[in-house]
Amino acid sequence: MAAAIKQPGWIRGLLGAVLAAAFGVGLVVVLRDISGLPIWQTEQTGYPHVVVPLITGPLGFLAGFGCFDYWLRWAVGMPTIPDDHSQHGAKSWRDYFRFNTDHKVIGIQYIVTTFFFFFIGGLLAMLIRAELAQPGTQIVDASTFNGLFSTHAVLMIFVFVIPVFAGIANYVLPLMIGAPDMAFPRLNALSFWMLPLAGLLFIGSYLAPGGAFDAGWTGYAPLSTGAPLGQSFFNLGVQFAGASSIATALNFLVTIITMRAPGMTFWRMPLLVWANLSTSLLVVAATPFIAGAQFMVLFDRALGTQFFEPLGGGDVISYQHIFWFYSHPAVYIMMLPGFGIISEVISTHARKPIFGYRLMALALIGIVVLSYSVWAHHMFVAGMFSWLRVPMMITTLLIAVPTGIKIFSWLGTLYFGKIHTYSTAMLFSLAFIVTFTIGGISGVMLGMVPIDIHVSDTYFIVAHIHFVLFGGSVFTIFAGIYHWFPKMTGRMYDEKLGRVHFWGTVIGTWGTFIPMHWVGMDGMPRRVADYAEQFGNWNLLISCFAFMLGACQLVFLYNMVVSWRYGPRADGNPWRAKTIEWQVSSPPPIFNFDEIPRVVGGPYEFGVPGARHAIMAGEGDQVAKPEPTVVSQA
C-alpha cells in the first residue's frame, strides 16, 4: 500500500484529488474567516466551497497521477529518474490507463475517450429529439431541456470534435513526418489527461444543485453570470479542455517545425500535416480568448466582479466579442484537420496526386488568416455597433473562396484517376464533399446580413452548424478513423458493416438536418423546448431520422470493437499509400523507425514512374535516384 502511494498512478492520483480538494475547501474557509465572512455561506451563484475544489481537485489528480513528476524533480533540484522508456508503448490494455508518453498510445487514448463522450453527447441528442418529436412538453421540462442541448453541444465540441482530431493527428502525424515521437512527450501525456477531467466536469454538472449548465454552449452573459452552480462546471471544464488544446497545439507546432525527417521540406509535407500546422496556429492564438471569457464569467459569479453587469459599468456585448473571437476560429479548428484527412484519403483511393497541392496548402493558411476577421458575423443582430456588419460580411463571404478551392481541388484530384470506392473511408470522403458543399452554401447565405437578420437564432442555424459540424467534421472523423484503423490496430475492419454505417449516417444526416432549414426560415426559433403546432409534422420526421442516425452509430461501435479484437490482420500498407506512416508495420514499432527515413519527393506521387516519397531504413542504396517530378500541363 505504501508503495502504491509513492508510485505515480491511480491510487496516488485519487489520493491527490481528495487532498487537493480538501485543501481547496480549507483555503475557502480560512480566507472567508479572515475576511470576516460567514464560513459556510453559499450564495446563490457563488458556491466557493465547490468552485475552488473543482480547480484544485483535478490538479491534485494530475499531480498524483504522475503528470508533473519529472518536471517537479527537475525544478526542485532533485535527481531526475533517467528515462528507461517504461512509460512508453503499450504491452497490455492496462498501459492505456497509465501516464504514457508514447504518441501512439496517447493517440488511441484520445480517440477512445473522445468517442466515449461522443456517445454520451449523442444520447443527449436523442433525448432532445424525443422531446421535440411533438409540440408541447412530453418527457423533460423546459429547464432540463435547456441543460440537455447545452451539455450536448459542449460535449460534442470541447471533448469530441476538437480533441478527436488531436488524437488522430497524435497517432499519425509523427509517423507521417518521420519523427520518433512528438517533440514534448510528457506535455503530450499531460494534454491528454486534462481532457477526461474536462469531460467529467461537464457531465458532473448534472449533479450540481440547480442542474446542469443551461445557458447554451455559448454561455452568453448575463444569463450565465446569474445561472445556478452548474454554470461554474462549464466555466472550469472549458479551462481544462482549453489548456489541453493549447498544449497539444504547441506540441504539434514544434514537432512539425523541428522534427521533420531530412528532406521533408514544407512543400513535401502531406496535407494532413499542413492542416494540423494551420489548426495549431489557430488554437494557440485563439483559445486564450475563450479561457479569458469563461474566467470573467466565473469571477462575475464567484467574486462579484462586474465585467458583464451594466449597472456596475460592465458591458454585456463584450462577452460575445471575446467569446466569438475564439469560437469562430474554433469552427475552423474543427474543420481544417478534417480537410487534411480528406486530402489523404481521396488522393490514395483515386491513385492520383493532389490537384494543385500548393494552392491547397495556401488555402489553409488563407483560412487561418481570414478566420480571425469574421467573428462578428455571429452578432449581426446582437445590437453591436452596426458599422462592423458590412466589413464582417465581406470577410465572411471571402472565406468561402479558399474553402471552395479545396472542394474543387479534391474534385480535380478525382479526374483521370483510378477511383476505388471499396473503402468506407473513401465513401465518407465523397459524401463529405456533397454535405459540406451544402453547409458551405448555407454559410454564405448566413453571411449576408439581410438574410441573417431573418434566420439568425432559428432552426436554420441549427441546420447549418450540423451540416458543417456533423456532415462536415464528423464525416471526416469517420473517414480518418476508418482510414487509419488498420494502421492503429493492425487489423482490418468489416467493410460491409462500414457500408451499413455509411449509408445510415448519410441518409440520417440529410433527413435530420435538411428539414431544419425549412422550419427555421418559416419561423421556428432554436433552443426551444416547445414550438408552434404548424411545425409538428416536420419535427416528427426530423426526430425519426435522428433516431435512425443515432442507431447506426451503434453499428460503427460494434464494427470498431469487434474488428479491433477479431478482425483479419492488416499488413503495413493495405491502401497502397505513399506517405511514410504506411511504410512501417501495422501497428508501427514502439519507436516508429529503426532509422529515420529520408524524404526524397512529394507525398502523393501516384503514377509518376520511379518517384518515391521516402526511402526507409535498409533500402537506401538499392533505390535508384528518382526522376525529377514532371508537372503535367494539359
Binding site: 421540462d141 423546459a142 429547464s143 435547456n146 445557458a215 452568453y220 444569463l223 446569474g226 460592465g314 454585456v316 456585448i317 483515386a350 491513385r351 492520383k352 490537384f355 494543385g356 497541392y357 446582437a382 445590437g383 455597433f385 452596426s386 458590412v390 460580411m393 465581406i394 463571404l397 471571402l398 468561402a400 473562396v401 478551392i405 472542394i407 474534385l411 480535380g412 478525382l414 479526374y415 483521370f416 483510378k418 464533399i433 452554401i441 454564405v444 447565405m445 446580413v449 439581410p450 438574410i451 437578420i453 431573418h454 439568425s456 437564432d457 425549412w518 426560415m521 426559433p525 433552443r527 426551444v528 423546448a529 416547445d530 501516384f606 503514377g607 514532371v630 508537372v631 503535367s632 494539359a634
Partner: protein, 263 residues
C-alpha cells in the same frame, strides 16, 4: 487535359440541373408570409442566392458524379491514375470566379441592408421592454401609454423600436417582418420596420433567456392609423417608473444603423 473532357456537355448538364433546382425552389415561399416593406427585398435576395447556390451545387455535383462514373477503377485494376499535379489556369479560375460571385452577393446584400434600414421622415418610436418572460411596450405621445403582451403599430408607417432588456438578453423577432434585433441590458438597441399588411402576428423571443424562453411570445397587431390612435388613447396603463429609469440609464451606442444613409 481539359480537351479530353466533354466540357460542353458537363456545362450543359450543370445549367440544366441549376434550372431544375431553381424552378422547384424559387417559387416556394421559404420565409413564410411577408408583412413589411423589408420582406419582399429580403425574399428576392434569398431567391437570387438560391439560383447562384443552385449553380455552384450543380457544378460540384456534375463534376463529382461524372468523375465517379468515368474514372472508377475496373475490378482488379491496381494501376495508378495519371500523374497530373495541377493546372494553373483552372486553379486561377476557381479562385477568381467564386470571388466574383461572393463579392456580387456582398454588394447586393449591402444595398438591401441600406434599403431596409433607410430612416423615413416621420417615423413613430415605440419602446420595447423585455424581461423573463414577457414583452411590454411604451407608445409615443403624452402620458406614456403602455401595454403588456400586445403590440399595436399603424399600417404603412415606419416604426423605430427602441429596445430595453431588464434582466438578460432577449431578441425581438416577428418572422413576417423579417426583422430581428437583440435586446441588451445596459444599452438601447434599435430595429426599423415598416409594416405594410394589416393583420395579427406573433412576436417571438429568439435569444435563449431561461426556462420560459420558448413561451416568451407577444401578439402583434398591425392596424389602420385611425384604429391605432384609438387603441393607444384607450390604454389605461402608464409606463412604470422603473422602466422609464431604464430608458434614461441605457446608453444608446448606435442610434441609427449604418445601413441608413452611410451614417
Amino acid at each position: 487535359m481539359m480537351g479530353r473532357l466533354p466540357i460542353a456537355k458537363m456545362f450543359a448538364a450543370t445549367i440544366v440541373l441549376t434550372v431544375l433546382i431553381s424552378v422547384v425552389m424559387v417559387p416556394i415561399n421559404w420565409n413564410g408570409q411577408g408583412a413589411s416593406t423589408a420582406a419582399p427585398k429580403i425574399d428576392t435576395l434569398l431567391d437570387v442566392m438560391i439560383v447562384l447556390s443552385a449553380f455552384v451545387f450543380s457544378l460540384v455535383m456534375v463534376m463529382l458524379f461524372y468523375a465517379l462514373w468515368k474514372f472508377k477503377a475496373k475490378p482488379g485494376d491496381e494501376s495508378d491514375g495519371e500523374p497530373i499535379h495541377g493546372n494553373t489556369r483552372l486553379e486561377v479560375a476557381w479562385t477568381l470566379i467564386p470571388t466574383i460571385i461572393v463579392l456580387f452577393g456582398g454588394a447586393y446584400s449591402w444595398a438591401v441592408l441600406n434599403d431596409i434600414e433607410e430612416p423615413a421622415k416621420d417615423p413613430i418610436t415605440v419602446d420595447v421592454f423585455s424581461q423573463q418572460f414577457a414583452w411590454s411596450f411604451g407608445y409615443p405621445g403624452k402620458g406614456n401609454a403602455y401595454s403588456e403582451g400586445e403590440l399595436h403599430v399603424p399600417l404603412d408607417r415606419q416604426v423605430h423600436f427602441k429596445m430595453h432588456a431588464l434582466d438578460v438578453l432577449h431578441s425581438f423577432w416577428v418572422p413576417e417582418w423579417r426583422i430581428k434585433k437583440d435586446n441588451v441590458p445596459g444599452i438601447t438597441t434599435t430595429a426599423i420596420v415598416t409594416p405594410d399588411k394589416l393583420g395579427t402576428y406573433q412576436l417571438i423571443c429568439t435569444e435563449l433567456c431561461g426556462f420560459g424562453h420558448s413561451a416568451m411570445r407577444a401578439t402583434v397587431v398591425v392596424e389602420t392609423p385611425a384604429d391605432f390612435r384609438k387603441w393607444v388613447t384607450g390604454l389605461k396603463e402608464k409606463i412604470p417608473p422603473p422602466y422609464l429609469e431604464t430608458i434614461r440609464q441605457d446608453t444608446e451606442t448606435d442610434p441609427i444603423p449604418l445601413g441608413a444613409g452611410g451614417g
